[in-house]
Amino acid sequence: MDLKDKLVSSFLAFENTVDVNSSIHDIRSEAIKRFEQQGFPSKKEEAWKYTSLKGVLKHDFSIFPKEENALEFRDVKKYFINDLDTYKIVFIDGKYSSHLSETTHDKIDVCLMSAALTHDKYKAVIDNYFNKVAKQDGLTSLNTAFSREGAYIHISANKMADKPVQIIHFSTGNEAAQMLQPRNLIIVDENSHVQIIERHQSLTDNPVLTNSVTEIYADKRAFVDYYKIQNDNEHASLIDNTYIEQQTQSVVSVHTFAFGGNITRNNLNFYQKGERIDSILNGVTIIENKQHVDHYTLVHHTEPNCESHQDYKGIFDEKATGVFNGKIIVNKEAQKTNAFQSNNNILLSDKATINSKPQLEIFADDVKCSHGCTIGQLDEKALFYMQSRGIGEKEARALLMYAFANNILESVKIPQLKARINKLIAKKLNVDIGFDL
């Protein structure tokens, strides 16, 4: 039985474990039908032209999380940004781990999706927001059908989250192969502010497939700063679907640091629903071996006077493959839009590949839209310059690469996180340099 059939038939078993009378259940049933129709995407689809899930889908993934495999904090401490005081929502094999987490209901809600989906208190919010901005494609529908657990964050109007939120998913390998489907809902009301750090981490060599869906709603003048750290081992694949709806004057930025994983696909979709909105999409990809990272972004401008800024940098070594597919749509009502998109890549090996597809679809005339894409190498002259001044070749290369990615690192607003990312990069580039020069 292939994975699709298994998932569809497992849905019946899933129904026994959840409340079938809730309004969410209708959404789930609809979603499984859509998944049954659409299935997993194949390379024949334009959106998946450069990324094949075939190799990943052949594993016999178990779909339901077993009992919690207890983890001691000291064992996984290194995956937290622990010099930073944060709220923490931690999942182990898809199950909430209360002893590793730190949640709150004090003025703001930082808690669990399972709670939000089942308690009456949240019903109005869930009815209003759940599965509203998410696209109805096969993978998202699959996640919707099995949506049960994840992070639920609601910052009510005029509040500022007093500290950042870390969302961490561990998989421990107590199954031969595991599929995880976290579902996150983040609602930031008027004039509110939140910073979120998300990480998926596999602790074993057993294959893991994560099909994650995150919906973010930023109301008027809300401010959301979202960091995704993807530094997993080579048996873990991640399909990360993020859907963001922004209202007037809100600012949402999503920073994606893709440093590892088997296949990583980031579907990042911004829908602008008001005026004077700013959307920021940043990414640094540094991968090697046979790793594959695919950034698939969409920014849809529907109202006047909005901006979007996309900046993706990639460094690819050995047999790594990088894909960038960026799309900007400017509706004809969206006059005075400023939309920028830039994708720069460095190939370090003859076996590495980069496929880039920056697209513009523009229906309004009074706009400033541009995209740029480059593929190149490190500047030999700069390398020579540094070597002639006593900097070793490896270090010189690392410095150049660091400089290449620097403007994105500069955009990280949490100092401790920035330091952590600098460390990760130094480790990646196999040099011992403190990069906060």
Partner: protein, 481 residues
């Protein structure tokens, strides 16, 4: 009152197709529909050898199994392929040796187009192989060319007289099964041009062909094959205008360029087929496959000015097979009213030190949609490959669209690729600046549009640049000076 962009828009909308006339020439037309018998009949009519008939039939069998592509960013009523006549030839068949023998009505047509033969002959030393509804009716300067050993004739003549060359190269760079329209063309191509430049010869004049679609309900399937042997050079011009008509017409041409070692081919196109009226009715469907192959040190340069056709689907490409070969693509695509253009290029880098340059300028007005779709592919063996792409779009009015779909695939670490695209409109500050200096708004718009497309216009040969300007005027009258 000052001339504003709104005025320009109005003018563009009301601008009728100037060259919309219909020449009454008796044509011999086949019954509509497509099957193996029709293909045999076409082949027989053209007195083709057996291998050519088989080649066509093979292509037809491939075509039958293919489906019409739908990936392009265009929408249109698909043509009914069984409702098209696949062959038409002007009736007065004998070949002419001098202009006097040519049907005076035909000459009148060309006069209206401003390309009268005698003028052409006297003027810039351009040899014209005129294709009027698929069969060449006049060829000039053939003798001058023959002295140099250059073969420049219709493809049907070449099939008869130079079968070894045709057999060796036809379908090598655009295979029969390449795509739906290429297969269709391979099966039913009516005529086209053939050109062979021998080793080390620099063609002394610009070779040019004017294409026309004239017969009502006639499909036009041109086939062009240009072979530049080692160390040779040729500049080839192709220009088109078509009469006004309500019913959609299909045009599916195939152009194959082969540049052997150290050869250079410059291929320039001005396309101005009937774009349909202001309501978007009628107009030509232009589904063209153009591709060139570069051997070592060879260079192919495509230049195109696309102003006509209701739907354009065209990607002149270069396969840079040899080391140090160079591919270039310069394009201006203008769309107005309900026109749709999906055009661009493919640069396939296979050899070492290969270079390609892409400059694409899109101008959209009215309710038109203008897309750039391009591929730059650097193969893993293409060391030190270099590409530069620039796609700029200019939008006039708020009901048109400009789209960019570049595909960039690099699998070599020594590749250097730059791609840049911008979208803008004519800024009020720019107009104001000109006004301030005594240039009225109409002239200012002309100046800006001209400057916008200058990089491409400059690449056209002198003789053609004039015509290109003329054609731009028709599409964007009032904005191009």
């Amino acid at each position: 009152m000052a001339y504003t962009e709104d005025d320009l828009k109005k003018e563009l909308e009301t601008k009728e197709y100037e060259y919309g006339f219909y020449t009454d020439i008796e044509s011999e037309t086949f019954p509509v529909g497509l099957n193996e018998d029709i293909i045999r009949a076409i082949s027989k009519k053209k007195e083709e050898p057996e291998w050519m008939t088989e080649w066509r039939l093979d292509a037809f069998r491939i075509w039958e199994k293919m489906e019409e592509p739908e990936w392009a960013n265009v929408t249109y009523q698909k043509p009914d392929f069984q409702n098209i006549s696949y062959y038409s030839a002007p009736n007065k068949k004998p070949k002419y040796n001098s202009l006097d023998e040519v049907d005076p009505e035909l000459l009148e047509t060309f006069k209206k187009l401003g390309i009268s033969l005698d003028e052409q002959k006297k003027l810039a030393g351009v040899a014209v192989d005129i294709v009027m509804d698929s069969v060449s009716v006049a060829t000039t300067f053939k003798e001058t060319l023959a002295e140099k050993g250059i073969i420049f004739c219709s493809i049907s003549e070449a099939i008869k007289e130079h079968p070894e060359l045709v057999k060796k190269y036809i379908g090598t760079i655009v295979p029969k099964k390449d795509n739906f329209y290429a297969a269709l063309n391979s099966a039913v191509f009516s005529d086209g041009s053939f050109c062979y430049i021998p080793k080390g010869v620099r063609c002394p004049m610009e070779l040019s062909t004017y294409f026309r679609i004239n017969q009502a309900g006639t499909g036009q399937f041109e086939r062009t094959l240009v072979i530049a042997d080692e160390g040779s050079y040729v500049s080839y011009l192709e220009g088109c205008t078509a009469p006004s008509r309500d019913e959609n017409q299909l045009h599916a041409a195939v152009v194959e360029l082969i540049a052997l070692d150290d050869a250079e081919i410059k291929y320039s196109t001005v396309q101005n087929w009937y774009p349909g009226n202001a309501e978007g009715e009628g107009g030509v469907f232009n589904f063209v496959t153009k591709r060139g192959l570069c051997e070592t040190n060879a260079k192919i340069s495509w230049t195109q000015v696309e102003t006509g056709s209701a739907v354009t689907w065209k990607y002149p490409s270069c396969v840079l097979k040899g080391d140090n070969s160079v591919g270039e693509f310069y394009s201006i695509a203008v769309t107005n009213n309900y026109q749709q253009a999906d055009t661009g290029t493919k640069m396939i880098h296979l050899g070492k030190n290969t270079k390609s340059t892409i400059i694409s300028k899109g101008i959209s007005a009215g309710k038109s949609q203008n897309s750039y779709r391009g591929l730059v592919q650097i193969n893993s063996k293409a060391k030190n490959a270099r590409n530069f792409s620039q796609c700029d779009s200019l939008l006039m009015g708020n009901e048109c669209g400009a789209h960019t779909f570049p595909y960039i695939e690099a699998s070599n670490k020594t590749a250097q690729i730059e791609h840049e695209a911008t979208t803008s409109k004519i800024g009020e500050d720019q107009i104001f600046y000109c006004n301030q200096r005594g240039i009225d708004t109409e002239k200012a718009i002309a100046l800006i549009v001209n400057g916008f497309s200058k990089e491409v216009l400059n690449k056209l040969p002198m003789e053609f640049a004039v015509e290109a300007q003329k054609l731009l005027e028709i599409s964007l009258e009032g904005s191009v000076g």
